[in-house]
Every structure is written in C-alpha cells, then in structure tokens.
Amino acid sequence: MADTTFDYETTLEACARRDERAFQALYNQEAGQMLGLAITLLGRRDQAEDCVHDAFVLIWRNAARFQRTLGSGRAWIHSILRYRALNQLRSRGRTVELDDDFIERAADDSLQAADLLEQQSEQRQLRRCLQGIERNRRHPILLAFYRGLTHDQIAARLATPLGTIKGRIRAGLRALQECLHP
C-alpha cells in the first residue's frame, strides 16, 4: 500500500546525488509493490523480477532527470516500471492468458466499513471515478492497466471491433479526466 509518510521526491533527489543509502531505502519501500504489479502484467515471477531489476537500474541512472515540479516521485518510479514491463511484454509478443475477473474486483469501489474514512480522501479517487463509467468503457481500460494490452489485443480478447474499442477507451478516459479534474 502507499505509505504516505515516505518522501519519494526527496529520496529521488538523494539518488541523483548518488546516495546509495537513499537508493536502498527506495528499494525497500517500493520493490514489493512494483513486483506485485510486474507479476500481474507479465504472469511470471522470474520475468517480473527482471523487470523490477531493470526499473531500478534505470531509476538510479536517471534520477537526476526527475523534477518534483513535474509531479509525484512515486508516479515517476512507476512510469519507469511500466515502461520496462510493456517493453518486455511487446518483445515476447505474448500476453498473460490468465483469468481477468480480478481486475473488476480491484477497481471495485463498493464501501467497506474501514473504507468509509478514506472515502473523501484522494486515495480512492480513481476507483470512484472508474465506477462512475460504463463497464464497457471501464473494462478495456483495466485490461490495458493490469495486462498491458494494446488496442488490438483488447479488441481481440473482447471480440469487439477495433474502432469500437478505441472509441470506448477514449470516451472512458475523457470521462475519467472530467471526474478527476472537474
């Protein structure tokens, strides 16, 4: 889970100054969550570890390019992980053929008692917005996120024409951004 007390931006700036302790702190903080997503995207633990390895190598080498004025440090780290994972998926030309049912549950915003406090906070903003859009727009967006599928692959997996899928994803993202940035 996101740790709101960890200062990703300052840690990345320390990495840019070649502070190895900061780099290790970042690894201890984030590698587990990164590996969780990489396993979901790639379907294999060994390839997912390769991906997390590559991401941390890139994070260390490119830390000086991070600027806190452009956004969240944690988002920057995950953009690198995602970039590596997608490259790996594309280069092997094959996607994960596993049950996709979990992705709708992951995006499910239905309230649990413990979540009530969290409800107003930013923590669940995206999931709340996702629940506000039609399933046929939401589902392809989740397939892209959790399985790293392209437009073509989503169209094939959902047996829906490519143009229709592109239109639904675009409409879904437009609706999301209106919900996130009213």
């Binding site: 889970m1 996101a2 190895e20 780099f23 290790q24 690894y27 201890n28 590698a31 587990g32 969550q33 590996l35 969780g36 997503l37 396993i39 979901t40 379907g43 294999r44 633990r45 060994d46 997912a48 570890e49 997390v52 390895h53 941390f56 190598v57 260390w60 080498r61 004025t69 452009l70 956004g71 969240s72 944690r74 988002a75 920057w76 995950h78 953009s79 995602r82 596993l98 992951a106 995006a107 923590q123 669940r124 903003q125 995206l126 999931r127 967006i141 989740l142 892209a144 996120f145 599928l149 392209t150 437009h151 989503i154 994803i169 675009r170 993202l173 437009r174 999301l176 951004q177 996130l180």
Partner: protein, 235 residues
C-alpha cells in the same frame, strides 16, 4: 498528429501511459513529453492516479538475490557482512539448539503460546516434508537483527520446468506471503525488511511451483517442506 485541444491531449497521454498506442504514435507522444513540461505533468498525473490500481494488488517480496543483482549491475555492490552469521554458525550452542529445535518444532506447533514469554533474540525453523518428523530438508535461522538464512540439509532433485518458492504464513486470514524463489541445495539470505516481524509458531514452507514461481499470490503446487518458528536464544 497530436491533438492541440487540452482535453484530447490529456486523453491521448493517458492512452500513452497505459501503453495502448502503436509504436509510431507512442514515439510522437514520448517526444512531446520530453519537450513539453505541461505534457510531462499530464503523464505523471495519470500515473499518479493509476497508482490506486497498483495498490489494489498485494505487494510481493522480491527474492533475496534481486537487490545484490541491482547493485552488481550498477557497480555499487558492497560486500555483505556475514560476520554475525559466521560467529553464529561457530557457536556450539546454536548447533545444539538446532537439533533440539527438531523436537521443539512439534511442541511449538501444538502450543505456540508457550513461547511468547521468551525474550526472542532469534528463531529456528526446521523444514520437513509434510507429515514427517525426522527428515529435515532445510533449516531456517532468523538472527536477532531479523535477517533470515535458509540452509539446505540435503540436495533436492527438482524438474527443470519447476521452481521452488519460499512462503511464510503469519495470519491464516491473510494467507501465505511469498518470500521469493530459492535454488535447491543453495543457501539463501533474506533481509529483515522482507521477512517482517517473526512470531513464535509462524509457518514457513517451500512449495513446488511452475517455472518462474506461482502465477498468483498463493502457492499452487505441492508442499515440499514445512515447519514452524521456535525461539532460539543465541546470546
């Protein structure tokens, strides 16, 4: 062509972040993000919102080899300090405790509460095939600083298309947590951060999984070895 209208541009950047675009379009958007700060902000903003979806997945403990591998790739590797372990291994008391732990494992399994009053400076876990009591295959030592060392006591034959995965179970309601893949017959060290706090009676197991490890966050294959943590004072 990249849309000029901000809402269309933001949606296009969202598609780029998700990895939906074909190579040509993706290259165009990547170039835009590199040149245009507003576009870079939009990309990180999508990425930040999407972290909510990442956080819905359980974190997975990387294998013990991953961090040293990253250090080695970057040429920042420092020699790990095994001196504490060396001392520990040479400590005769430890050896006695290890064999005593064989008998204690059963007691701890039946009455884990018995050990809670101890001043825990370390733990020992003897891993045996399920249902066996005198065939230790691996032994786990958790030092006072929380680092774990997994030592083979025998050489396992594992099919080439299979991997052995190490797990722990603290709370049955939460389920087992992966501690990564291990190589049969080779000792493995796992950091205290990855293990978390160990409870007396905590279960550890090795399972046979498809090559590369379980495709989910749960064991899917046969349990090869299993055991519970017992307190081992190593002062």
């Amino acid at each position: 062509m990249i849309a000029q209208q901000p809402a269309e541009r933001r949606a296009l950047i969202g598609e780029y972040v998700l990895g939906l675009l074909d190579d040509e379009q993706a290259a165009e958007v990547r170039a835009l993000i590199e040149q245009d700060e507003e576009a870079a902000r939009m990309a990180l903003d999508w990425e930040r919102h999407l972290l909510e979806l990442t956080d819905q997945l359980p974190a997975q403990a990387p294998s013990a080899q991953l961090w040293p591998r990253i250090q080695a790739s970057l040429g920042i590797a420092r020699t790990p300090d095994h001196s504490a372990w060396g001392q520990w291994w040479n400590n005769l008391l430890t050896w006695r405790l290890t064999s005593a732990a064989l008998a204690m494992a059963l007691v701890a399994a039946l009455a884990p509460g018995l050990w809670q009053g101890e001043t825990a400076t370390g733990y020992t876990v003897v891993l045996q095939p399920p249902g066996e009591t005198a065939q230790p295959g691996w032994v786990v030592h958790i030092a006072g600083d929380g680092a774990l060392r997994l030592e083979p006591l025998m050489q396992d034959e594992i099919p080439a298309d299979r991997s052995v995965q190490f797990w722990t179970l603290v709370d049955p309601a939460i389920g087992p947590r992966s501690l990564g893949l291990i190589e049969p017959g080779k000792p493995t060290v796992i950091s205290a951060e990855q293990i978390g706090e160990v409870q007396p009676g905590q279960l550890f197991e090795l399972t046979l999984e498809p090559a590369g490890g379980s495709p989910s966050s749960r064991p899917t294959g046969k349990v090869l070895y299993i055991g519970r943590a017992v307190v081992a004072s190593v002062n």
